[in-house]
């Protein structure tokens, strides 16, 4: 059943709507919410939502509980190929839990949180941005790690990154829900503005696996092929560009690299010169690599878990 959570008028003959699909099983059970599209340039969640809704709708007899799918938290951002909300400065994932008296974006954030609260589990799907390519991973704040890592392991992602707490991250959807005792896992994978079909299918399978663990799916599910690498905060090396230029690499993320191994190089196309060679300072698992080649000093090129 399609439900509208937010509906307001836009200036010229159009409604701004945020909708969800509520699929109820034949028997009562847990409530799982799958949300995505907070950043308008992240599209992997669209295929995941499609596959989930299609498969569950066609196999309702296996569902014991309720699946709620929110494909587009930021429909205007998706439509205009913008990460943020058009005409609004702040990242939508920095304004939760919202404010019913604030701007339209803050009112929207408030309405969404209120709608989701009380779910037994929430999966918030992101897919990096235009600049970085990410190994399929789950990100968990260290303050909620003990509770959430055991759930995350069922998703079949390659990597679980337990990261440090930061004050600015207290305004994310995941943090706001977890504070409200609604468990929320954040998934990151792929790259902005593109869909990687095989990654999406893996996550769909992982979500069914988690649903099985939650006791809300009785259908067959393939066991995850890989056991995730789990990273506790503080042991991730960030490789930032030493110089501005064009970053070239032959490597993909999700690979192991050795100390001093060449990750890529930054070049000057005008002079035909290499400006700097990018080498790994550690041995470990490279779970992020730059996708957009133009870099300024400081641009992130890779993240490596020093395993």
């Amino acid at each position: 059943m399609i439900k509208t959570i937010v509906s307001t008028e836009l200036p010229i003959d159009e409604k701004f709507r945020i909708r969800k699909n509520v699929i109820s099983g034949t028997q009562k059970g847990p409530r799982l919410c799958v949300v995505t599209g907070t950043h308008g340039d992240e599209l992997e969640g669209q295929m995941v939502c499609y596959e989930l809704v299609k498969t569950v709708s066609e196999n309702l007899k296996f569902l014991e509980g309720t699946l709620e799918v929110y494909p587009a938290f930021n429909p205007l951002g998706i439509d205009t190929i913008q990460r943020g909300i058009p005409n609004f400065d702040l990242d939508m994932n920095r304004i939760f839990p919202g404010d019913p008296l604030g701007t339209m974006a803050e009112q929207t954030a408030y309405a969404l949180i209120e709608d989701i609260k009380g779910a037994d589990m929430v999966i918030d799907i992101h897919s990096s941005n235009l600049y970085l390519r990410e190994t399929p991973q789950v990100r968990i704040n260290e303050k909620t790690a003990e509770k959430l890592v055991p759930f995350a392991e069922h998703l079949g992602m390659d990597f679980i990154w337990v990261h440090d707490a930061a004050t600015v991250l207290e305004a994310t959807l995941a943090w706001s829900l977890n504070v409200a005792e609604t468990p929320c896992l954040v998934v990151e994978m792929g790259v902005g503005q593109r869909i990687n079909n095989s990654m999406c299918r893996r996550l769909v399978n992982g979500i069914f696996n988690l649903m099985k663990h939650l006791g809300m799916w009785t259908g067959k599910v393939a066991s995850p092929e890989t056991k995730p690498v789990i990273c506790q905060g503080g042991s991730v090396t960030f490789l930032n560009a030493e110089t501005s230029g064009v970053f070239l690499t032959d490597l993909k993320c999700g690979t192991r690299v050795s100390e001093t191994e060449t990750i890529g190089m930054i070049v000057d196309p005008l002079q035909g010169k290499m400006l700097s060679r990018v080498t790994s300072p550690v041995s470990g698992y490279m779970f992020t690599i730059r996708a957009y080649p133009i870099v300024y000093e400081g641009s992130l090129m890779a993240r490596i878990f020093n395993s």
């Binding site: 307001t8 836009l10 010229i12 943020g84 702040l90 600049y131 305004a171 501005s244 000093e297």
Partner: protein, 310 residues
């Protein structure tokens, strides 16, 4: 006046990115003024240029107090202004949400770290700022309440209002917040508008900053400035928010600073197809317009006015 380059970074395809500082006087780090961090803060750029001009004259006339130094950074982000982008063009990040910065981090974190390194340690700090919601303010001094805010100093600007706001999680990466935490008496000055020059508001703002410098004895030998106000202190959580009951064309009738009575019509919202008035936006109370939406279109439930009730 000494001009120095505070930060320089090569660009793959453009001239180098440079942040320049203008230093006046000698001695203790007394006052730092940070100019625009967003590329559309044209009013703020203009005001900074006028402050540099006034301080240059003040220095020539020996009006800078002995043992005190002033730093003005007229632009923290010339690259974005040159290409008409509000944020850092390469990745759309906001330098003013990267403080205190990180010299080994991402590009805008590095820029913020360099700016913060230059601005840190001053007794007073002033940022020419703009708001995250498009609109016009009555010119005022704004302070984040961190426990380190100094209301008495804020009143020295002699602007009509001093506003206080409680920080939200996303505010903890602002320059103003971090400046205060690092023991600078920090103020954001809102100069009416952002992306265009309002010469009246700019002139009032320049005078207010010069007035603060005189009152804090950073400048000697008082010169004539526009009259000071006895500022009203506004707690932003007590501002009355007026929202649009309809979407449509926004026709504003009252501007920031207007005195209004309960029931006064502040704006009309016009049907974009037939020209009929869909709603008259009325003031919920007697007071003063503190903030007003400045775009020609408005969304339903959009925040269009903030009123400071009497």
């Amino acid at each position: 006046m000494r001009v120095e380059t505070i930060f320089e970074m090569t660009s793959p395809y453009r001239d180098s990115f440079r942040i320049k500082g203008f230093r006046f006087g000698n001695g203790e780090k007394t006052l730092a003024i940070a100019g625009p961090m967003r590329g559309d803060e044209i009013q703020q750029q203009y005001i900074c240029s006028q402050i540099v001009r006034r301080l240059t004259m003040a220095e020539q006339h020996g009006r800078i107090s002995e043992g005190k130094s002033i730093l003005v950074i007229p632009s923290c982000n010339p690259f974005s202004m040159n290409v008409s982008r509000r944020f850092w063009a390469m990745d759309n990040t906001d330098i003013n949400r990267m403080f205190p910065g990180y010299s080994q981090g991402e590009t805008t974190q590095r820029i913020a770290a360099a700016i913060f390194s230059a601005l840190e340690g001053f007794e007073y700090g002033i940022q020419l700022a703009s708001y995250y919601v498009p609109g016009d303010f009555v010119p005022h001094v704004r302070m984040i309440t961190t426990g380190y805010e100094t209301l008495d100093t804020a009143k020295l600007f002699g602007m009509k209002f001093v506003s206080l706001c409680k920080p939200r999680p996303f505010d903890t990466a602002l320059l103003n917040y971090n400046w205060q935490i690092w023991n600078t008496k920090a103020f954001s000055v809102y100069a009416g508008c952002t992306s265009r020059i309002d010469s009246t508001a700019a002139s009032e703002t320049v005078d207010a900053i010069m007035r603060m410098m005189q009152a804090a004895k950073i400048l000697t030998k008082t010169v004539t400035l526009s009259p000071a106000y006895e500022p009203a202190v506004v707690d932003e959580s007590e501002l009355l928010h007026v929202k649009a009951s309809h979407a449509g064309i926004f026709y504003r009738l009252k501007s920031p600073g207007s005195s209004i009575e309960s029931g006064d019509v502040l704006a009309q919202i016009i049907d974009p197809y037939n020209g009929q008035c869909l709603s008259e936006v009325k003031s919920p109370a007697d007071g003063i317009v503190f903030f007003a939406h400045n775009q020609p279109l408005v969304f339903e439930n959009g925040l269009i006015f903030m009123i400071r009730g009497m």
